[in-house]
């Protein structure tokens, strides 16, 4: 059997479905950091982010058949779950008010940019370029929705824009990003 590090994510998920803990360990090694970082960024709470990591990998262990390689990469599958979890957790009345106040301040100050954390070397520059090339309003809408866990309606209020406009900018922005990343050779599964 190949050393685990050489197996694809999909092969490892299959091994997980046969109760191979070492396969889960390798998937954890590959993806837990990214899951944690996203959950922490969205929720602003490291303890909650740690819980999200636990939940996501426990779910992978118990229900590996939920992952469909036709739908996308394992990374995006895990991140989508973590993101949803983080958003649910913070979408409470008081925490929302706190975050909206913080975001209003940042919006007013303009020029807030993507957080500078450690990026994967192979991808980071391209992603940064693609984001920089996005029309500013598309980028702001996506960042407020994705990184701050706001609904598009809340973003519309915060940016003082029609809801339809925000919806459309998020959708168009994501498409544009995908196209930019794809021409940089990024975006295929695994």
């Amino acid at each position: 059997m190949s050393p685990l590090r050489e197996l694809s994510d999909t092969a490892l998920v299959l091994a997980v479905s046969r109760y191979r803990q070492d396969a889960l360990a390798e998937l954890y090694r590959r993806h837990a950091g990214a899951v944690f970082a996203l959950a922490r960024r969205v929720s602003g709470e490291p303890a909650l982010a740690e819980e999200a990591v636990q939940e996501v990998f426990l779910r992978l262990w118990n229900q590996p058949d939920r992952f469909d390689p036709d739908r996308g990469s394992l990374r995006s599958f895990l991140l989508a779950q973590a993101h949803s979890r983080a958003v649910d957790a913070v979408r409470s009345e008081s925490s929302r008010r706190r975050r909206e106040e913080a975001d209003h301040r940042r919006t007013a100050e303009e020029g807030y940019d993507v957080e500078h954390e450690v990026w994967d070397l192979a991808v980071a520059e391209h992603v940064k370029d693609a984001l920089d090339r996005l029309p500013r309003e598309e980028r702001r809408a996506i960042e407020l929705a994705y990184y701050r866990g706001h609904t598009y309606r809340e973003v519309a209020v915060m940016l003082d824009q029609p809801e339809g406009t925000v919806k459309s900018r998020i959708r168009t922005g994501l498409r544009r990003l995908r196209s930019e990343l794809s021409s940089a050779g990024i975006g295929g599964s695994e």
Binding site: S17, Y19, A32, A34, A37
Partner: protein, 260 residues
């Protein structure tokens, strides 16, 4: 229900939905729509894939996280969820098994077939892409990579039970193995390819004569992995229209026992 929102309305929300940026009632409406709309499902998957690049990789995992995770893993493999086998007749969704009318099966002769050598089992094992969305999702995972190795390992697993399916004339049709955890590998060497609008469907029979659909083999099957059950006593294969059926009115193309 879906009349409240047009397809265009749903489409407009797909970007926000993929970023978890919609209200609960909107999410519910979208999820309902996604069940029947592959195009929108595909768009959501693309947006989520794009979003995954917006986050960060190369980060270390939280301290002690792995140890905590290991501590909470079950020691015993979880029980196979049998509740879905008890569902009444309705259109099958992805990954669901269904029950077909037991009366149909009284005419089935579950004939034993000649034993096939282990070498013959493994001949011609190749990966094939099943072409139908009704299939058990786990098959999709298996087929993407590694199924050859897994199938080889399964075929020499000492705890396996052998499967031999033959036509009503006694011609060998398919062989396979059933593992104690319910995984079922089927090698469909002898099944003739069907036209593209047809598929082979696999059915499992329980000791109480209940029959359930285990999934589809596609129109040109070779090797496949199914989520079976250690209690299965026999299997059968029918030819159906692409997409499979909730209940079959066809005589099996092949059938056979799961040996003890």
């Amino acid at each position: 229900m879906t009349g409240e929102r047009s397809h265009k309305d749903i489409e407009a929300l797909l970007g926000a939905y993929a970023l978890d940026a919609v209200d609960t009632d909107e999410a519910e409406a979208i999820e309902l729509h996604l069940r029947d709309c592959p195009r929108c499902r595909s768009e959501v998957a693309e947006h989520r894939e794009t979003a995954s690049f917006l986050s960060h990789s190369g980060q270390p995992a939280p301290e002690g996280g792995w140890d905590r995770l290991v501590a909470s893993l079950d020691e015993q493999p979880p029980e196979l969820d049998m509740t879905r086998f008890a569902a009444g007749p309705r259109a099958p969704r992805e990954g669901e098994a269904t029950i077909i009318t037991p009366a149909r099966w009284r005419r089935v002769a579950l004939a034993a077939t000649a034993a096939a050598a282990a070498v013959a089992l493994l001949a011609g094992v190749t990966v094939v892409r099943l072409n139908n969305r009704l299939d058990d999702v786990k098959q999709q995972v298996a087929l993407a990579s590694g199924i050859r190795d897994q199938a080889l390992a399964a075929a020499s697993d000492p705890a396996r039970r052998e499967i031999r399916l033959a036509s009503t004339q006694g011609q060998p049709a398919a062989t396979g193995v059933l593992l104690p955890d319910g995984r079922l590998y089927l090698f469909d060497d002898h099944l003739q390819p069907l036209p593209g609008d047809r598929t082979y469907q696999l059915w499992g029979v329980f000791p109480d004569k209940r029959v359930v659909s285990l999934g589809l083999l596609g129109h040109d099957p070779d090797v496949a992995l199914f989520r079976g059950d250690p209690n299965l006593v026999a299997l059968a294969i029918t030819e159906e229209r692409a997409g499979g059926v909730v209940s079959s009115t066809n005589q099996p193309t092949a059938s056979g026992p799961v040996t003890a």
